[in-house]
């Protein structure tokens, strides 16, 4: 919201308050001042100058040298040879800065010194509507009564300070100069004075003899108010109106249209003006449009309406898209003599929907979308009519037409000073409360300690005591809380759940394992499923779709972390980072049904890991084996085939008979799809399973004080027997708690073995008793037993 201080001064005297002070005060009471714009900063160092003589340039026919009198005597060389003595022109002196940002410097033009240059309107950011001739591409000749030697901003009254104020969503009333003025009055302790051009419309039936209102959609239009002006003279608006509209970015058109825009800016009420003769049948009908009803709007385009769009119609057809834009055939024309001003409240949601569905936005629709209060229809109409009367642009017809089927009840809020204290935690004196509320135009009285506020129509945001407390504290000052205050309340012990604790532990562990935690978006491109080479019927293709994504790349909720991790890996590979280990714990979204019905899709946390560089399958596996050990979750690994993974270098991770994830090498074609030439290792593990099945301390176990006995066995096995199976078989065969450890420390396959389809496996067995030192005979017997069983069950022999 742009608030020019000159306009604000129509309502409140801010003499002696600097723009900076005013901004600080507004911030203190809840109005963010985003910028203080000094309009004079746009053009600097340009003064008005009167030409005293025009002489031919001695060295160039197309140039003249003008002597001018400004704040001193100067010479200016120009190609505007038509200038004559007595003309008053804008003169950019040495060092002047023009609207374009260009800096002017004095110099010599073909041997004649020039102290600067004359400017046209464009260089000063003026248009024809500001000043006659300002739109032309030549030096601007100012009116003869312009003071000479004065800064151009002052001379043309362009000097102003504009505050750019952010308005919070609850304060719809502050989206106008008037609303801001109320706050300024309250926060500066000055009086709010209404200008004299808010007219009272005399009661009567003159209007209703010619015009009636039929509101068929009170749910979308809770109020429709209109007044009528006759004997209208359509003309150009005076400078102050045009300037104020222009400052707000609106284009001046004619006095009546300009009034509607002016009221929008000042009161915050969008207005519309109809030419009475276009209201066929003398009837304004507020109704939902018929399906496929068409209207040519003021922008010249034809819009096809539907039953959800509210239309303002005459007896025959739509004249306007309610709150969005008028129809081209029903507005104000140069020959218009009778005007109907509409000041209505349309439901913000209705205006917003219509605006969006038609792809048509206007200042009016944007304003309606923020919400309009019931006060503004009357105030807006009073201002519009008042402006007409003030400038003698027409005659006001008595009476209004008004559809207001359910008038808003007068709200009051009663409270005591201690109610306020119970919310704020600090005591504010009753007198201060009363003073603050009344200054905010919230009339408040007190009787035996109970205060009652009558909530004005423009403060629909105030519904209860908490709102009153906020009004009080934002004016009383948030700096009134002493900073040594302590927090009250019951003593509660904070709780971290086991799941949260284990998740944090996993994260810490992963960093210890050399991995950096990434942050990837939950939404991915649906192309990901093809990049990951998923079969057409892969359940992971069943992803939740966003109705309104920020583009296809972010349009479905991920069902796998693989895409996100490979993208992160791809980023690093592309930037030639040599070694990368990444991890992330984040959610995947797994809908039961598609499209999503009434149930929320399941959300599952996944621990994802991706790495390249000094990695292979076994280093990746080692990272996870240690993790599962840390969490005390026993797992096994089995060969697994997953579309995006290397078919013979991928394992399913199985815990308690359930697949909880996979680890392995990414298939080379998939890596290539992500722009990665290196071998990439990837894992996805069900993190919810890990955090809910992890266990901490398992109880104390005594340690053996007797020495272990280690034996290495070199075995020859069938090459297809997996390591885990051999170890399991060894343990089964021993069936003894004396065998405390069995692990494979070497595997060898190759022609040197001289045995086809066999491999050599070196197994290290550790035996230990908790009760005694083992003797060779015992261990030897166990080894015999193990070898016997291995041979029997798996055909494994000693090498």
């Amino acid at each position: 919201m742009l608030v020019p201080l000159k306009w604000l001064k129509d309502f409140v005297d801010i003499e002696g308050v600097s723009p900076e002070e005013l901004a600080a005060k507004l911030v203190s009471c809840g109005f963010e001042v985003e910028e203080i714009i000094n309009t004079e900063d746009d053009v600097k160092g340009v003064v008005t100058a009167k030409i005293t003589s025009v002489e031919k340039h001695p060295g160039a026919d197309r140039l003249v040298a003008c002597k001018v009198s400004a704040d001193g005597e100067y010479t200016v060389v120009t190609n505007n040879t038509w200038l004559k003595p007595g003309d008053i022109v804008p003169f950019a002196k040495d060092g002047a800065v023009l609207h374009s940002g260009k800096t002017i410097s004095a110099g010599e033009v073909r041997g004649v010194r020039s102290d600067g240059m004359f400017t046209g309107g464009k260089e000063l950011n003026l248009t024809e509507s500001d000043l006659l001739g300002a739109g032309e591409d030549k030096v601007l000749v100012l009116p003869p009564d312009t003071p000479v030697g004065v800064d151009i901003n002052k001379a043309l009254e362009l000097d102003d300070v504009v505050l750019d104020i952010g308005i919070t969503a609850n304060r719809t009333d502050a989206n106008g100069i008037l609303g801001i003025a109320r706050e300024v009055a309250a926060v500066t302790g000055r009086e709010l004075k209404m200008p004299d051009d808010y007219a009272e419309i005399p009661a009567g039936d003159e209007i209703s003899r010619e015009l009636e209102i039929e509101n068929l959609a009170p749910d979308l239009c809770p109020r429709y108010l209109a007044a009528m002006i006759k004997d209208v003279k359509i003309e150009e608006s005076p400078t102050y109106i045009k300037r104020r509209l222009k400052a707000a970015g609106l284009r001046p058109i004619n006095n009546i249209v300009d009034i509607t825009n002016y009221v929008l800016l000042e009161v915050g009420q969008p207005m519309h003006a109809f030419d009475l003769k276009t209201i066929k049948g003398g009837k304004i009908i507020v109704r939902r449009a018929h399906e496929n009803e068409k209207i040519v709007a003021l922008d010249g385009k034809t819009y096809t309406l539907n039953n959800e769009n509210l239309a303002i119609c005459n007896a025959e057809e739509p004249m306007a898209i309610a709150g969005v834009m008028g129809g081209a055939g029903y507005s104000i024309f140069d020959d218009t003599t009778e005007v109907v001003f509409e000041s209505a409240r349309f439901k913000r949601e209705s205006v917003r929907r219509t605006s969006r569905s038609l792809g048509l936005s206007s200042d009016s629709s944007q304003r309606f979308s923020k919400g309009i209060d019931y006060y503004s229809q009357d105030a807006g109409l009073a201002k519009a009519v008042g402006m007409v009367l003030k400038h003698g642009w027409g005659r006001l017809v008595n009476g209004t037409i008004d559809s207001y089927p359910a008038p808003a009840p007068q709200k009051t809020v009663s409270f005591t000073a201690s109610d306020i204290e119970n919310i704020l935690g600090i005591a504010v004196d009753k007198c201060d409360i009363m003073r603050i509320l009344n200054a905010l135009s919230i009339p408040t009285t007190e009787k035996s300690g109970v205060m009652t506020s009558v909530i004005p129509g423009f403060r629909e945001d105030i519904v209860g005591v908490n709102d009153i407390a906020e009004e009080v504290i934002r004016m009383y000052g948030y700096d009134r809380f002493d900073s040594s205050s302590v927090m009250q309340g019951a003593l509660i012990a904070g709780n971290v759940t086991a799941e949260q604790k284990f998740e944090a532990r996993i994260q810490e562990y992963m960093t210890g394992a050399g991995a950096y935690e990434t942050l990837t978006y939950s939404f991915i491109t649906p192309k990901a499923f093809d990049m990951l080479e998923m079969p057409a019927d892969d359940p992971r293709r069943k992803a939740v779709k966003l109705l309104n994504p920020l583009g296809e790349d972010y349009s479905v909720m991920r069902t796998t972390m693989a895409h996100s991790m490979l993208k992160a890996v791809g980023t690093n590979a592309l930037r030639l980072n040599k070694e990368v280990r990444l991890f992330e714990i984040a959610k995947v979204f797994l809908p039961d049904t598609l499209p999503v019905g009434e149930e929320l899709p399941a959300e599952k946390k996944i621990l994802a890991y991706a790495a390249y560089g000094a990695e292979d399958f076994y280093t990746t596996k080692a990272v996870f084996e240690a993790l599962f050990d840390l969490l005390r979750i026993p797992v096994t690994f089995e060969p697994e085939v997953i579309s995006h993974m290397h078919p013979t270098r991928t394992a399913a991770v199985i815990a308690d008979g359930v697949k909880i994830g996979y680890i392995g090498e990414v298939s080379d074609t998939v890596s290539a799809a992500y722009g990665i030439e290196k071998r990439v290792y990837l894992a996805e593990i069900d993190c919810d399973y890990l955090t809910s099945n992890a266990s901490g301390y398992n109880g104390f176990k005594a340690i053996s004080k007797y020495p272990p006995v280690e034996r290495d066995l070199a075995l020859v096995t069938d090459e297809n027997i997996p390591a885990a199976k051999i170890i399991d078989a060894v343990r089964d065969a021993a069936a003894s708690e004396l065998l405390t450890d069995a692990k494979i420390f070497d595997v060898f396959v190759g022609p040197q073995l001289k045995l086809a389809h066999k491999k050599s496996v070196a197994v290290r067995l550790t035996f230990r008793s908790a009760e005694r030192t083992l003797v060779d005979a015992e261990v030897n017997a166990l080894i015999e037993k193990i070898l016997g069983k291995l041979s029997e069950t798996l055909g494994i022999k000693l090498r």
Binding site: N422, I423, M487, Q488, V496, G514, T520, N548, L550, L582
Partner: protein, 373 residues
Amino acid sequence: MSQDKSKDGLKNFFEDRVRAIEASPLSKEVKTMLIGRTIEVAKQMTELKEHAKKHDIEDFRVKHFGKSGDITAFSKLIGAAPPEFRRTLGAIVNELRSAFENAFSLVEKEFFAKEHSERIEAEKVDVTLSSDVSKASVGGLNPITIVKNDIVSVFAGMGFSVVDGPEIEYTKYNFELLNIPDDHPARDPGDSFYITPDIMLRTQTSCVQARTMETTAPPIRVVCPGKVYRPDEDATHSPMFHQIEGLVVDEHVTLKDLKACLEQFAKRFFSADTAVRFRPSFFPFTEPSVEVDLSCAMCHGKGCRLCKGTGWLELLGAGVVNPAVLEMCGIDSVKYSGFAFGIGLERAAMVKYGIPDMRLLFDNDVRILSQFK
């Protein structure tokens, strides 16, 4: 010096031994033999001491002290000597043997000490040189996680528990129960991602407030960190970002308590001199609502580039829980009151680490990630 001294010591020691033998009543023949051997061993020991290698030490031990060593052989002389000399000879031989043993042990010790110090010198490493093995052997958490952990631990210390909620959420929890009516602009598809008209990506962790109040009786003190989603993307906005929501519901909770709580947080999260400033603001689910500024972590309020010269950083929104929200969530708003706050973690991380562009937090280049461990 010490070496010379001990060398002299050895010499003196053997001279003493020789004099003792000469003074003894033994036969000249025996005396000559003992003295001859003593001098010979002493000579060898001196040589050993000066030039020994490890195997020389072992050889010497075997040659002189082994089962058939010559010093061991002295003892055999005792049995062979005439009975009247046995005692004298025994005393001399035993003294001589233990003297040799002591002397050898000194030589040995000295030798090993010397060998040890030579080895230490030879094993010297350049401690300023690094291994060529991967430097990435320690990873690190994302700055968002670090900041989240830091914030959670501050509030955990104040008795807050950590709660979680779904990221795909009913509009009921994201809007209705937070006093955001149907026609509120925040519901616009331009401001929220929708999945169905009633299901959306949560735009704020405040949803978890409503879920917590629905299921938990006061007193409530929770924080809920998590991902939230809004359709914005530029240097200061990401379509997915992180918030941490705090909620306290109890008897007699006021705005003043909110300020006290956030002051504690600010002092612990940034530094002890961090000040907190409230500015009025608006959120539908709190009333009164405030923007909370913290004095700038970089310039401590003096004004710098980070705080754009204001001395203050806008870091969170907060307020007294709107009684309408309490009632909608089934909590008696006459008996109980509460406060809530929401912190943007990206903003907190950017302030804490001086990160200039929010998009860098989602870039995932290890050269960035490795800066925060």
